[in-house]
Each structure stands twice: as structure tokens, then as C-alpha cells.
């Protein structure tokens, strides 16, 4: 079917356009112009707000209001630009993978190697949390062990592509790399531990009774490059529409901390000297619900106030990976004891990673 559609799409411009040869130029020119405009906007962002806030409005960089307002404006534009770029590129790249292919790769794997593969595939597979339940049923019904399935479901939100991109641009590739390694390690070990605990008895029975009917169709096979680019564009719009309130709250809080919080306020409660710092960060982060883009301005502002990187990464992971809406979703297939153990094991892993990074960084 898809081959018919592709042939039809390719034929349309030739028939409808007065200058068929122009089509090829546009395919090169449009991406180049868009990329150049993106880069120009990114580079001009900070000098522009310097001029507006400090010269046009006459606010002083040393003043609380001046630095807070400047932080808010600069960060809003910077994060929206970064988000658009990251989401587009990641969506197009990931469209070459699919949940169906991931399941085929995981089918019949033993625990251990299965957990490692599942965590890795969790990062590269196109996956939205709204598909978590059908994917869980599909994996388990196809014989993928529960622990391996959970490694996939933990890695997918924990190693978040938006967080990777933002960490890399704000703190460098070393921190981004450590974050990826830590997220994968937590997903592998938490899935393995949960599998060892024999949690099958806490999975809703209907999952095992579901018979997979129909033919499995690979969700991203047979798409043309134009389809993948269109999906990338649409995904940027969908995600920005969904997360802008979280983004504004995150940047607003970041700006307040940046401009108004006393220099030693956070360092006193969650600084490197406080042995409970990471624990506090995780306990605060778990009930908070935001996404990677919303939490990053906070992380940046808190980093400026002297909080150690391990504590901040633990905070971010707790906010992004463990959330009430996700638990409510998983409750459809997992019984409360398993939800509790899941939360406990993942939170413990995140805390351990936080302390480890504070010790080595």
C-alpha cells in the first residue's frame, strides 16, 4: 500500500507544477535556509537581549531584576530553539527504528543481555508514553520477560533526548555522556532486579490472556524521506504546544532563583557538604512533574548557585523518569505493589548515581 502512496506523491508535483526542475532545488535550498536561520537566531539571541535589557530598558546586569529578566528572556528563546532543533533531528532519525522491530530484537532474549539490549533500544526507539501500555502488553504477550520489558520502559523516559541535547549545550558533552551512561545503568539494573523479584504475580492477569490478533505492521517501515521530515516538523509543533506551560514555569523559577535567591541558600540545604543533599533532591524531584525542557532552566540556575552536578542530575532524573501520570498509566497493567517496588528501585538507582557523581566529579 505504501509504495502506491509514495509513487502517487512523487508524481503529483511533476504533473501539477509548472517548473518540475525547480523541485530538486527546493529540496536542498529549504533545509539550508532553515538551518541557517536557526543558527543565526541562536547566535544573535544573547547579544540581542543584552542590548534590550541592559541598554534599551536600562537595567543593570548586577541588579536582581536585570539579571532575572535577562535570564528569562535569553533562556526562553534559547530553549525553544534548541528544543525545535533536537526534536526535529531526533524524530527523523528515530523514524528508522520502530517498537515492532525492537520487540522482534528482544523476543527470546535471556535476562541479563536482554536487559542491556532493552535499555539501549529504549533510547533509540520512537516511543511516546501514551503507547506505554499497548507496548507493555505487546512485549509480554510476545514472550519478552517482564524485567526486560521494564528495562525498556525505564530507559525510554530516563535517557531523554531533549535532556541529552540541553545538557550537552549547557554543560558540555562530558556531563551529557555521564548522564546517558547513568541512565542506561539504572534501566539495566532496575529491570534486572525487578525481574529477579518475580514480579509476574503483580502484573494484571489480562496482560497474559491477551491474544495478539491481526497482522503486525511495522509502524515506520515504508515511509518516504518526505514523510519522515513531515513527522519531524509535526512533532516539534505537538511537543512545543504540549510543554510550553512547563517551560514557562521552569524558566520563571530559574529566573527567580537566578536573580533573587541568596547565594548560599540552596548550597546550605543541598550543597556538597550536606550528606543528605542527593536524597533531598530525589525526594523533591519524584512528586514534581515536568519534562526535561522545563526542568533544565532550574538545573542551570541551581548550578550557578553552587549545587553539585551529581545532585542536579539526580534531581532531573527523578523529575523526568518518575511521575504520577506515568504511574497512573502503568497502573492499568501493573498492580500497586509492583508500582511501589518500581518506584523504589528506580529512585534508589537515581540516588546512588547522584552520590557517585558528586564523589567523582
Amino acid at each position: 500500500m505504501s509504495t502506491h502512496a509514495t509513487a502517487g506523491d512523487a508524481a503529483t508535483p511533476v504533473a501539477g507544477s509548472p517548473r518540475p526542475a525547480a523541485g530538486r532545488w527546493w529540496r536542498v535550498a529549504v533545509p539550508v535556509v532553515v538551518a541557517a536561520a536557526w543558527l543565526a537566531a541562536y547566535l544573535v539571541n544573547e547579544p540581542l537581549w543584552d542590548a534590550v535589557v541592559y541598554h534599551l530598558l536600562g537595567l543593570r546586569p548586577q541588579s536582581r531584576l536585570g539579571s532575572g529578566v535577562h535570564f528569562f528572556l535569553t533562556d526562553s528563546v534559547k530553549i525553544v530553539l534548541l528544543l525545535a532543533g533536537i526534536i526535529f533531528v531526533v524524530t527523523v532519525l528515530r523514524s528508522y527504528m520502530s517498537v515492532e522491530r525492537t520487540r522482534a530484537l528482544l523476543g527470546g532474549r535471556r535476562e541479563g543481555i536482554g536487559n542491556v539490549m532493552a535499555a539501549g533500544l529504549g533510547v533509540v526507539t520512537p516511543f511516546c508514553s501514551c503507547s506505554a501500555v499497548p507496548a507493555f502488553i505487546g512485549f509480554v504477550a510476545a514472550g519478552v520477560p517482564i524485567g526486560v520489558t521494564l528495562s525498556f520502559l525505564i530507559a525510554s523516559p530516563l535517557v531523554n533526548e531533549i535532556a541529552v541535547g540541553l545538557l550537552a549545550t549547557m554543560f558540555g558533552w562530558k556531563i551529557a555522556g555521564l548522564y546517558i551512561a547513568a541512565g542506561l545503568t539504572i534501566a539495566v539494573s532496575a529491570g534486572w532486579v525487578l525481574g529477579r523479584l518475580g514480579v509476574q504475580r503483580w502484573v494484571e492477569p489480562f496482560v497474559f490472556e491477551t491474544r495478539l490478533g491481526g497482522q503486525v505492521i511495522d509502524s515506520t517501515a515504508g515511509l518516504s524521506l518526505a514523510d519522515r521530515v513531515r513527522m519531524g516538523r509535526e512533532e516539534v509543533g505537538t511537543i512545543l504546544r504540549k510543554i510550553w506551560p512547563y517551560l514557562l514555569v521552569g524558566i520563571g523559577l530559574g529566573a527567580v532563583i537566578h536573580g533573587w535567591a541568596p547565594q548560599d541558600f540552596f548550597a546550605r540545604y543541598a550543597g556538597a557538604d550536606n550528606p543528605f543533599g542527593v536524597l533531598i533532591a530525589v525526594l523533591v524531584g519524584v512528586p514534581l512533574y515536568s519534562n526535561a525542557a522545563g526542568v533544565m532552566p532550574l538545573v542551570q540556575a541551581l548550578h550557578d548557585k553552587g549545587l553539585p552536578m551529581g545532585t542536579l542530575l539526580a534531581f532531573m532524573m527523578a523529575v523526568v523518569a518518575l511521575s504520577l501520570p506515568e504511574m497512573i498509566l502503568l497502573r492499568r497493567v501493573l498492580r500497586p505493589p509492583l508500582i511501589a517496588v518500581y518506584l523504589g528501585v528506580v529512585a534508589t538507582g537515581i540516588t546512588a548515581v547522584g552520590y557517585l557523581f558528586n564523589a567523582i566529579l
Binding site: 500500500m1 502506491h4 502512496a5 502517487g8 506523491d9 523514524s95 520502530s98 517498537v99 515492532e100 520487540r103 520512537p126 516511543f127 511516546c128 501514551c130 503507547s131 501500555v133 499497548p134 507496548a135 502488553i137 505487546g138 512485549f139 504477550a141 489480562f206 491477551t210 491474544r211 495478539l212 490478533g213 491481526g214 497482522q215 503486525v216 505492521i217 509502524s219 515506520t220 515511509l223 514523510d227 513531515r230 513527522m231 509535526e234 505537538t238 504546544r241 504540549k242 492499568r332 497493567v333
Partner: protein, 82 residues
Amino acid sequence: MHIKILGPGCANCHALERRTREAVADLGLTAEISAVTDYPTIAGYGVMSTPALVIDEQVVAAGHVPTKAQITGLLTAANTGH
């Protein structure tokens, strides 16, 4: 013709339903369009990535929202197939 939109009600599911309704109206088809939000039923179709489009019990698209033109193509193919 029976058309089902499989998905728990996320933004993409609504987009798929909207485009499908437009395509059906443009083609002048008489079709019964329903949204399936129940997880066991969705999984029963073998679908793991939502939203998915089912025409007369055949899954024709899953995991992404096709364009209206593509949905029109899928509907025409299914319609002439009977």
C-alpha cells in the same frame, strides 16, 4: 465501511481522527468512525504504537499520523477492494 481509530486519546489520536473524518467526507463515503481507547482491544489488534488506523478490521497504519492525502489513498484502496 467501519473505521476505527486506536489510541488512548493523545494529541496524535485526535489529529488522526480529524484527518480521517475529513478524508471520508471528501470522498463522500458512508463510514462508521469510532475511537477505540480500551488497551486490551488495542493490543488485540497487534498494535504497539498508537495512534493506529483500522479499516474494516485491517490495521492499515500505526505509530504515526498519515497525511490526509495518504488516508484518502488508504480509504480508496480499502473501498475498491470490496
